[in-house]
Symmetry: C2
Subunit: 448 residues, 2 copies
């Protein structure tokens, strides 16, 4: 719709109208619109944006569209845009660009900014340092409220967040926090050291972003300061960046639990080949380990040939065991990720899963037994074998399913890889072993 309107305007070369049309949209809407255009039209529309709007819109464009724009812009235009951007956005852009584009960007930034950018690029992936921005509002403790407010007024333009101000000493050590809300409601000549909160919650630049997300959630923060080993203020992380982290971490867990290596790009942008590679390694591992299950069946060939009906229950037992285990492992993986439980609770978890699995197992086995003897002509002793197997399979599956993620966490491994396909494969082998053991025990008279 929007696309059509503007396409018509472009065809009719009504630049003034286009500009007017763009003015009525907000930044995000303009960038979504631009993302639908290619090369020459993209550049044409982009050039119609006002100078300080251009930078804002630019930061929300797709990587490929950003690259097209930088490639066709003059040095002066490039500088104009990058001067307006926040450092965390510049770093995000640089990390995605090919080296010739990175060179062009760095060539058109001041020496001081280039230094900051290089510093930020050095922080490890997914660390607090890598997602922080350096545009924060800093004050000195001997300032009065009115001095503080006038400093805020004069520098507000370049700041990502001015509502939380940080009080630092001469060597930039963090001494306190004060909100703009407190400043505007206090007397003009009060020194801010009397007002500031010294009980500061902060993170270290090398802390993992998952950690940062936990703290922001726990304390309901909008912004969190990042410091170095000497408690010097390096930057701030705002809650909107953490929102992305929370979703990213959840996505990673979803993918790991389905046996997929982490995918950075979005679905439609990742090539089929890359996606195939991300999925195939686990499938190969699991395919090969599933052959052990096959070996178990093979080693009970004589039992199966004597009581052929036994093989028809294999899928039901394997599926039910797998599903029961997947339920427990999913619940525990998620509870661990949300911090609802931790490895110290191992015993409580086992006790709880034992009770749950007992209830579930007995109900399932009873339903199964009744169904087999009422609805099908399954011999009584076979129905009994299958149902008793079901009890053990469900209980063991649930307990192992809940336990493995806790073990993983204890050894600082990712609990998520202990769920899903891996657990199903382990449980398949266990299920069959239990099944055939009971079969040889209970049905010895039927086995030749």
């Amino acid at each position: 719709m929007e696309n059509n309107t503007i396409q018509t305007l472009i065809n009719e070369k009504k630049y003034f109208e286009i500009r007017k049309y763009l003015n009525d949209l907000n930044t995000i809407e303009v960038s979504e619109l631009l993302n639908q255009f290619e090369s020459s039209e993209l550049i044409m529309i982009f050039r119609l944006l006002s100078k300080n709007r251009a930078a804002d819109v630019f930061s929300y464009l797709d990587t490929e569209h950003q690259e097209m724009i930088i490639n066709t812009m003059t040095d002066v235009e490039t500088k104009n845009i990058f001067d307006e951007l926040y450092f965390d956005d510049i770093v995000d852009i640089i990390e995605e660009m090919p080296s010739n584009v990175v060179k062009k960007i760095l060539k058109n930034t001041d020496a001081k900014d280039r230094h900051t950018i290089n510093q930020l690029l050095k922080y490890p992936d997914n660390s607090a340092g890598s997602i922080m921005t350096t545009e924060y509002m800093d004050l000195k403790k001997d300032m009065t409220v009115s001095q503080a407010i006038s400093k805020i007024r004069s520098t507000v333009e370049n700041m990502e967040n001015v509502y939380t101000c940080y009080v630092i000493d001469e060597v930039r050590k963090l001494e306190g926090v004060i909100s703009l809300k407190e400043l505007i409601t206090s007397e003009n000549d009060t020194p801010i050291q009397n007002l500031m909160n010294k009980n500061i919650i902060n993170v270290h630049a090398n802390d993992d972003q998952e950690n940062v997300a936990e703290i922001i959630k726990k304390y309901n923060l909008i912004v969190l300061p990042v410091t170095d080993d000497e408690n010097r203020l390096l930057g701030i992380i705002t809650v909107d960046d953490i929102m992305d982290v929370v979703e990213q971490e959840a996505t990673e867990d979803f993918h790991k639990m389905a046996g997929i290596s982490p995918v950075e790009e979005s679905y439609l942008k990742t090539s089929a080949f890359t996606m195939a590679r991300q999925r195939i390694s686990w499938l190969i591992v699991l395919m090969i380990s599933a052959t052990f299950t096959g070996r178990i069946i093979k080693s009970y060939e004589d039992v199966l040939q004597s009581v052929v009906i036994l093989s028809s229950f294999i899928p039901m037992l394997m599926d039910t065991g797998g599903n029961a285990g997947a339920q427990s492992s999913t619940i525990v993986v998620r509870a661990l990720a949300l911090g609802e439980v931790n490895p110290k609770d191992a015993f409580k978890i086992l006790k709880k899963e034992f009770s749950i699995s007992l209830i579930v197992a007995v109900v399932l086995a009873a339903i199964n037994y009744l169904r087999l003897i009422i609805l099908t002509k399954t011999p009584l002793n076979v129905a009994l074998t299958v149902s008793v197997t079901l009890i053990f399979v469900v209980m063991i599956s649930k307990i192992i399913g809940a336990f493995l993620p806790v073990v993983a966490k204890t050894f600082k491994m990712d609990p998520a890889i202990m769920a899903g396909p891996l657990i199903t494969t382990i449980l398949d082998a266990l299920t069959l072993t239990i099944y055939f053991r009971f079969a040889t025990m209970f049905l010895s008279n039927m086995i030749k």
Copy 2:
């Protein structure tokens, strides 16, 4: 640690020291500490908190601890606490409490507040109205900047967020938004209608919270206004509440994908019986549908008895098909949840999954074929049957796995229930059918 310190102080009745100790902790830390105490000690420590701190701490306590406190408090004390709380927190508390406690709370609130609370309680679960708060900063458009700032100064105490102010007309219709940042950097006598942004992003009180989360993420907002059918301002939703929504929605998807009905409480707090109930319904459905798979095996009994080795490949084929399908369904469910794809992209998704599955299937089948003829003494034609089956199984699993969630979304159903156990059960039946069809085709000379 903290627990011990304070326990010693309690035992020694050093109330002054306890109070000093509590003063050094922040609100969240105090509530975490209190959550570890029971009844009488809990009340004793709670009473040592200053009046306005008590309310803050109270809002972060566990439901059971909140209940204990309300039950022992006098009416005046109850009123003191609930006067200080934000409406969204009061509503959350009321929703969790038994009716006698709710009565006590409502008895001790002003008629006007009680009206607001009752209004908020009426919004459907998970709607924007149910998570919004009514403490926002509203201004009139004919105010000047200095009038606006002095209104903010005088009412700041009761507001959840003063950094975004809403401009409303006489009948409370939303006319514009202005940030405190803009106010403090503008001239004192400018009318705010010249400064306010009229391009407002808002949600309706009946909108789903998932929708709210999407808008907040898309536009990087800290706070979002909620309006009614006539565009009258009803409340605001702040980003920290949305963070919980995002996690809650992800947890729901995790659980649904593992065949678990939604769990409201955290893992350790839910009883084993409730948890068993949440897990058993899907297990019963899946157990019964898995017997269809058993029927398929049974109907090919003659094939299996002629070529017994065929049964040993069943687990591998079923697992690989299930895993391949789970990968695709997980990827697509998550991409749908994040808004990376939508049902309109169905054709693109199918095309992509076709390419991915072709690569994956051929590689897996080749590895499997080589492994069978080199490492085991599997007859060539059996190895071929298994490997060709594998190609078809992996391709069909991936395509169905990706397609079902998209179909669900098209029909406004939840894509997440189309992943996990359900898809595995469907694919099991398909896998076996394909397998036995190929077996009868390729191995006709071996079948008696």
